[in-house]
């Protein structure tokens, strides 16, 4: 057994992970309860848009184990993993499937949510970009996929518990501290300050885009234009 200690998850990746986890839980809860919390649901959705875009950029500019190219799950890798042949650190091929699945699903949820409406008094910040008909359909998609999302999150947590109890691997600790004991590889490299600035800038642009703040404002009716009846 190798007893080397390596730096696995860089700080931006860890912050992204925990912020996303908290945001998704908050989004599900506020979405289910509704009422005035639907306003928060919308705001959290915009934040998740920023987090996802950050992760997409960080998957290219980030450090070794955060890069998509490092853990992209090819059929060959999955086969090797299932037969116990796979060696490596970071996301294993099955875990990578879960990562890409969650990111893809969340992108659809954010996209549909930004264009959705709740048929009560809430509309997604970008809903004006599409017809009501399209908005209604996307709302349906948003509702149906929320169940899939909850399922994937439960599976994700169950997998962590499985690794902890059955395979005796603590996956949570490296995601908190960044360091992994008894590792089988080299410490992560890359993902410096400049890369972080670029990723943050693009993520902020995404938040601005998702917020709909750039949409033309509807001018209020001029005084005297509204009839008294």
């Amino acid at each position: 057994m190798n007893s080397k200690r390596i730096f696995l998850w860089d700080l931006p990746t860890r912050l992204f992970h925990w912020l996303l986890g908290a945001s998704v839980v908050a989004a599900v809860v506020t979405g289910q309860i509704g009422g005035n919390l639907i306003e928060w649901h919308g705001k959290i959705g915009i934040l998740i848009a920023g987090l996802l875009v950050f992760r997409l950029v960080w998957g290219v500019l980030g450090s070794t184990y955060a890069r998509f190219a490092h853990f992209f799950p090819t059929p060959a890798k999955i086969k090797a993993y299932l037969s116990g042949q796979w060696r490596g650190e970071g996301h294993n091929p099955l875990g990578a499937l879960s990562v890409f699945g969650l990111i893809a699903l969340l992108l659809v949820q954010v996209g549909s949510g930004l264009l959705a409406n709740d048929d009560i008094a809430f509309t997604g910040p970008l809903a004006d970009l599409v017809s009501r008909e399209v908005s209604n359909r996307l709302t349906g998609v948003h509702h149906l996929l929320s169940n899939v999302l909850i399922g994937l999150v439960v599976l994700h947590v169950a997998a962590i518990a499985f690794y902890a109890h059955v395979k005796k691997q603590n996956l949570v600790k490296p995601m908190v501290t960044g360091w992994k004991d008894d590792a089988d590889g080299e410490s992560a490299r890359g993902g410096g300050f400049l890369a972080l600035l670029v990723a943050l800038a693009i993520a902020l642009a995404a938040i601005y885009g998702a917020s709909g703040a750039w949409l033309p404002e509807v001018p209020p009716p001029a005084v005297g234009e509204v009839p008294t009846w």
Partner: protein, 152 residues
């Protein structure tokens, strides 16, 4: 005495006929119109709560309109078989409206209660309280949509 009895019988028959007279297509249209009109009034209240310049008169008008529709007995428009059909657009009323009557009655009464309360709160002109009540009212809309309105 006899004529009084006849008259009341006639009245009962006519009242029965008055409900039955609505054609299914019209019933669906009236339903959709009612909800659409309430949506406008929900938006009016919301704009006044969010905008920073709260106009009590506007909010009272909107809240009273919602209250009136909530108490208009729209349940009568859910004619048997009208889980299918097209009014202004295809209906999204789910078939369990006609089977799960106990639960439906409960969510409908919750909506009535909060709509009445909305009108009361609006009359006080307390912007913060109107905002809170709008959330409660919206929650009762969702209570019905979740179970009885088909997703697109």
């Amino acid at each position: 005495m006899k004529s009084k009895l006849l008259l009341s019988l006639l009245a009962i028959t006519m009242a029965g006929a008055a409900v039955a007279q609505v054609k299914p297509e019209d019933a669906i249209k009236f339903r959709q119109s009612g909800y659409g009109f309430m949506a406008w009034n929900m938006q009016r209240i919301k704009m006044n709560v969010e905008g920073g310049n709260f106009n009590k008169e506007e909010v009272v008008k909107a809240a009273n309109a919602i209250q009136a529709i909530a108490n208009s007995g729209m349940g009568a428009l859910y004619l048997p078989g009208t889980d299918k059909g097209t009014g202004w657009e295809p209906t999204r009323a789910k078939a369990n409206i006609w089977t799960d009557k106990e639960k439906l009655g409960k969510v409908a009464m919750e909506f009535n209660k909060e709509a009445n309360e909305m009108a009361k709160v609006a009359a006080t002109g307390d912007a913060a309280a109107v905002g809170v009540q709008l959330g409660k009212l919206g929650g009762t809309c969702k209570g019905c949509h979740d179970d009885f309105k088909a997703k697109k």
